[in-house]
């Protein structure tokens, strides 16, 4: 409890400082600052005096701690420890929260009495807070009874005002001030001046019934203003503060100052209401009120119109001088308020928290000092640290006591001495309370009893969590040893609800490879990932190769994530993935690569002309723009080469759609490449000539020929066939065969620029038919093609490369027959590619009719 007193003393001191500052400040600024402000600013001081809160670091906090320390050194408070081994099965009630606590129930059952009388002095110091409290309470009770007596006295001699006019005036003024409560009024010739009593049922007490109407108005306004501003509550708040800080003369001074300011500010508020012009009239009313002399000293609790002549003089002066305050003053007021609020906050108090941080000389000497807690009639010693835990074993508190752990305890590496021996077994109870004890270490090779508790008899040991203990090496040389992490030897003892987690190293290493296999079989990705990280490098390599071979991309990618950085495994696997064109695997591996390594790969991919890998690498290097540029350049180069090639043959290509041959605009332009894999067909209705590029086996242009009419007709027929034929009659071919094709539906929302989408893998044999019927809603160039499964994608078969005509549609319509000489049977992959910009909403189907199935 002295802590509370300390806090209060510090609050008193801080508050006093503020009071001094305010008093001095007000002397110099008296009339310049609003009276209201002067009145209410005290509230901050009162808050400082009443509320024991403050910021962590305060101006005076350090000073208080310093004082505290010096006091502690001068007069160390006697420690009262509950007598160990208290008689009876139930230990004597033990009280107290902190070491500087006392027995609140007096010295009668206090061991102190048995000590020499020298303790009387310290006892007095210990109980000084009681003196403080008694005086404070006494004062408060006295003030309340005086006020009650006063109210009773007023009420007894009063008669209610029955004059309707007076009552009406009060009602009207109350309405003006927007007071909702009906205001009672009475006349009591015993009061010297008008006053207001009652917190919740306000009553204006007038000294006489016939007060001139004008005076009445001011009087009532004044009293109602008091009521409206809740000055009664303020007054009593001040009174409470005075009672609690009765020892502080400055607080008393403040109380008087507030009473003055209360009237000053009330006058100010009234004048603001009636207008400054009426200042003289109002002053006269005050004087008249003083003329009638009352017979009761009523300076407490009630708010009166006037109190004494000296104050009245000042008030009259203030009233006459009152004037509107300038903006500058208002600003100054605001700044002052902030200053005072902050200084109130930072002047600070004696902080209990800080105090506990102060190394208490007594505590430092004896950290094993255990506090106690009473629970359902049983007293528990609270174990919070290593020293206290070890102290149990020394028998300092008694082997038969109840102990309860109150904090996680980390033990030092010092050899642990088990609690309880054969000679002195532990017979009480220990409740681990769910807290942990970590790092229990026993290494003594000769130890015979090994465990947190050694020998316990009829004891209860429970709720202990023992973690990272190391007792494996203890007792190596002992012939006859007893080991139990929690309890080594328990004679009739119960040990339950305990949890033991030995040191990590002590875990029998589980067979990770078999473990990981189990996870793999169980398809448990997260467990697999963890298990993988525990494997050695060779096993990791085996697993990665296995996953790669299985094509298990998900497991592969989590495994790669768990690989050590800069392991050669990544490079090896990348090499493999690159060779196999496994882009997904390669991409995962690339994620683990350093930038420099990625650059190397990029160079290699560009050299190889491997655009897909290049694209990945550019992307990983965050240089995808560069890739786009490069690709564009490449395409441009290709187009230029193409133009040059045609030029050499005498065909001028103005753009993709306009060709000239020998000065004539070309209508049909046909260029079929090797094996029919790639052809350019352009039709320009304005053209006048039809030409055909003839290529040799090496795809070199050997000739440009005018197309014969038959050739043109055949071409047009083939094209119109393409257009007219729909799904139903496709099954009927010229030969009269009925095809039962496998239909590959195509429905792609978007195909990114340059992206080639694999639609499937098909075994094609001679005589099989392939129909393309695909259209794209947006985009300019679309290519549908097959590629041999084991070959690079750029050797294409049965491909259609179509370009959107202005205003036209973008379709890939074609009909191919598999067979020699151009093509051979085998397994092919079917792709759809966006060549020039992205494609949107690609729909249609590809039908593959097997000749074997046709009938």
């Amino acid at each position: 409890m002295n802590t509370v007193l300390k806090v209060f003393l510090s609050m008193s001191f801080s508050g006093s400082l503020l009071i001094l500052v305010l008093l001095l400040g007000k002397r110099s600024l008296n009339d310049k600052i609003s009276r209201q402000w002067q009145y209410y600013i005290w509230l901050i001081v009162i808050l400082r005096l009443l509320l024991p809160f403050g910021p962590e670091t305060t101006l005076l906090g350090e000073a208080y701690q310093a004082v505290d320390r010096s006091i502690a050194q001068v007069s160390p408070l006697p420690q009262q420890r509950p007598a160990p081994n208290a008689p009876g099965s139930v230990p004597a009630p033990v009280v107290g929260i902190g070491p500087d606590d006392e027995e609140a129930d007096g010295p009668a059952d206090d061991p102190v009495t048995s000590r020499p009388s020298q303790d009387v002095g310290t006892l007095l110091i210990d109980h000084i807070w009681l003196v403080w409290l008694v005086v404070a309470l006494g004062m408060l009770i006295r003030k309340v009874t005086i006020y009650q007596g006063f109210v009773r006295y007023i009420k007894a001699g009063s008669t209610p005002v029955s004059d309707i006019e007076v009552l009406d005036q009060i009602s009207i003024l109350a309405q003006q001030l927007s007071i909702k409560k009906p205001i009672e009024s009475c006349v009591d010739p015993l009061v010297s001046s008008p006053l207001l009593i009652g917190f919740f049922h306000p009553c204006i007490v007038l000294p006489s019934a016939d007060i001139p109407k004008k005076d009445l108005r001011y009087i009532v306004l004044h009293e109602l203003t008091h009521y409206k501003r809740r000055d009664m509550f303020y007054k009593w708040l001040v009174q409470i503060t005075v009672c609690l800080h009765w020892f502080d003369p400055l607080v008393h001074l403040m109380s008087r100052e507030i009473a003055r300011d209360c009237e000053f500010s009330c006058d100010e508020a009234v004048l603001a209401q009636v207008g400054i012009g009426h200042a003289r009239d109002y002053g006269n009313t005050l004087l008249d009120a003083m003329a009638a002399v009352g017979r009761y000293k009523e300076d407490l609790g009630a708010v009166t119109l006037s109190e004494n002549k000296q104050l009245l003089k000042e008030r009259l002066g203030a009233i006459m001088r009152s004037e509107k305050r300038s903006k500058a003053i208002q600003l100054l007021t605001g700044v002052l308020t902030l200053c005072i609020v902050f200084s109130a906050a930072f002047v600070g108090i004696y902080s209990v928290a800080a105090a506990t941080d102060v190394p208490d000389p007594i505590k430092a000497d004896d950290p094993s000092e255990m506090e106690t807690l009473d629970l359902k009639g049983t007293s528990y010693y609270l174990v919070c640290n290593e020293t206290q835990l070890r102290a149990i074993g020394t028998g300092e508190y008694g082997m038969d006591q109840n102990y309860m752990q109150q904090a996680d305890i980390r033990l030092s590496a010092d050899e642990w001495i088990p609690i309880g021996t054969w000679d002195d077994p532990f017979t009480g109870s220990y409740n681990g309370n769910g807290f942990e004890i970590t790092g229990l270490t026993m290494t003594d090779p000769d130890a015979e009893i090994i465990g947190l508790f050694g020998v316990a008899k009829n004891a209860h040991i429970y709720n202990i969590t023992l973690r990272d203990h190391d007792i494996a090496s203890a007792g190596k040389n002992a012939a006859n040893k007893s080991v139990g992490a929690i309890l080594a030897i328990g004679q009739g003892s119960r040990s339950y609800d305990n949890f033991v987690y030995p040191k990590e190293a002590a875990v029998s290493i589980e067979d990770h490879p078999s473990e990981i296999n189990r996870y793999y079989q169980a398809d448990s990705l997260p467990l697999f990932e963890i298990a993988f990280s525990r494997l050695d490098v060779d096993t990791q390599k085996e697993w990665l190769e296995r996953l790669y071979a299985d094509g298990d991309f998900a497991f592969f990618s989590v495994a790669v994530r768990r690989l050590d950085e800069d392991t050669p495994l990544i490079a090896d696997l990348a090499e493999k993935a690159y060779a196999d064109e496994e882009m997904a695997f390669f991409s995962t591996l690339a994620d683990c690569m350093e930038e420099a390594e990625l650059e190397l790969w990029l160079d290699r991919a560009l050299e190889d002309g491997d655009w897909a890998f290049g694209s990945i690498l550019f992307d990983k290097l965050d240089r995808s723009e560069e890739f786009d540029e490069l690709e564009e350049k490449q395409q441009k180069e290709w187009a230029e080469a193409q133009t040059a090639e045609y030029e050499k043959a005498g065909v001028t290509m103005v753009d993709e759609k306009t060709y000239y041959y020998q000065g004539q605009l070309v209508n049909i332009f046909l260029d079929i490449r090797k094996e029919g894999s790639f052809y350019t067909l352009n039709m320009n209705p304005k053209g006048t000539v039809d030409i055909k590029i003839v290529r040799d086996e090496n795809d070199e242009i050997v000739d440009v020929r005018y197309m014969t009419e038959a050739e043109v007709t055949e071409l047009l027929e083939a094209m119109s066939d393409d257009e007219d034929r729909d799904d139903d009659d496709r099954q009927e071919a010229e030969e009269g065969k009925i095809w039962h094709p496998e239909v590959v539906p195509v429905d792609l929302n978007a195909v990114a620029a340059g992206e080639a989408i694999l639609l499937g893998e098909y075994d094609l044999s001679d005589g099989d038919r392939i129909w393309f019927n695909i259209s794209a809603e947006t985009g300019s160039r679309m290519k549908v093609f097959f590629a041999k499964k084991d070959e690079q994608k750029d050797v294409v078969y049965w491909s259609v490369n179509s370009v959107r005509q202005p205003g036209g549609s973008l379709d890939c319509m074609a009909d191919f027959t598999v067979g020699p000489p151009a093509t051979s049977s085998g397994t092919y992959k079917l792709y759809l590619q966006a060549l020039d910009g992205a494609l949107g909403n690609v729909k249609g189907s590809i039908s593959i009719g097997s000749a074997a199935d046709a009938s």
Binding site: S162, I164, L167, D168, S171, E184
Partner: protein, 127 residues
């Protein structure tokens, strides 16, 4: 003992007594006072009504925002009580003095006199 009423309070009580309905409402009293040429502020009336309640003349029942007032002392009771205190104060309890003053002071009309006579005779027969 029935307390004395101030003039303003008596005015209000008269209105309450004059109200035939079982309970009297606030606006009715306000209007009544205005009709008698003695209007007052709402808050004033509230104060006066609460005084009447303290004196035990009225009881109030609050129903929502509406106050219903009921007279606890009837007009007759009040008059009797006041007359008694008047008699005690002025005529030291002698009703004879009062009646003789009424007659001597020419304060009664002839009809009133006859009525009074009749009442006296009836009172004789009762005893």
């Amino acid at each position: 003992m029935v307390q004395r009423l101030s003039d303003a309070e008596l005015e209000i009580m008269k209105i309450v007594w004059g109200d035939r309905s079982e309970v009297t409402l606030f606006p009715y009293i306000m209007d009544g006072l205005a009709a008698r040429g003695k209007p007052c502020q709402k808050n004033t009336l509230i104060v006066l009504l609460s005084r009447l309640m303290n004196k035990g003349f009225l009881s109030a029942k609050k129903i929502g925002r509406r106050n219903e007032y009921t007279a606890l002392v009837s007009e007759k009771q009040y008059q009797t009580a006041q007359t008694r205190s008047f008699l005690d104060k002025i005529y030291e309890g002698s009703a004879k003095g009062l009646v003789s003053d009424l007659i001597m002071g020419d304060l009664l009309t002839d009809e009133e006199y006859e009525e009074l006579k009749g009442l006296l005779e009836k009172g004789m027969e009762r005893t």
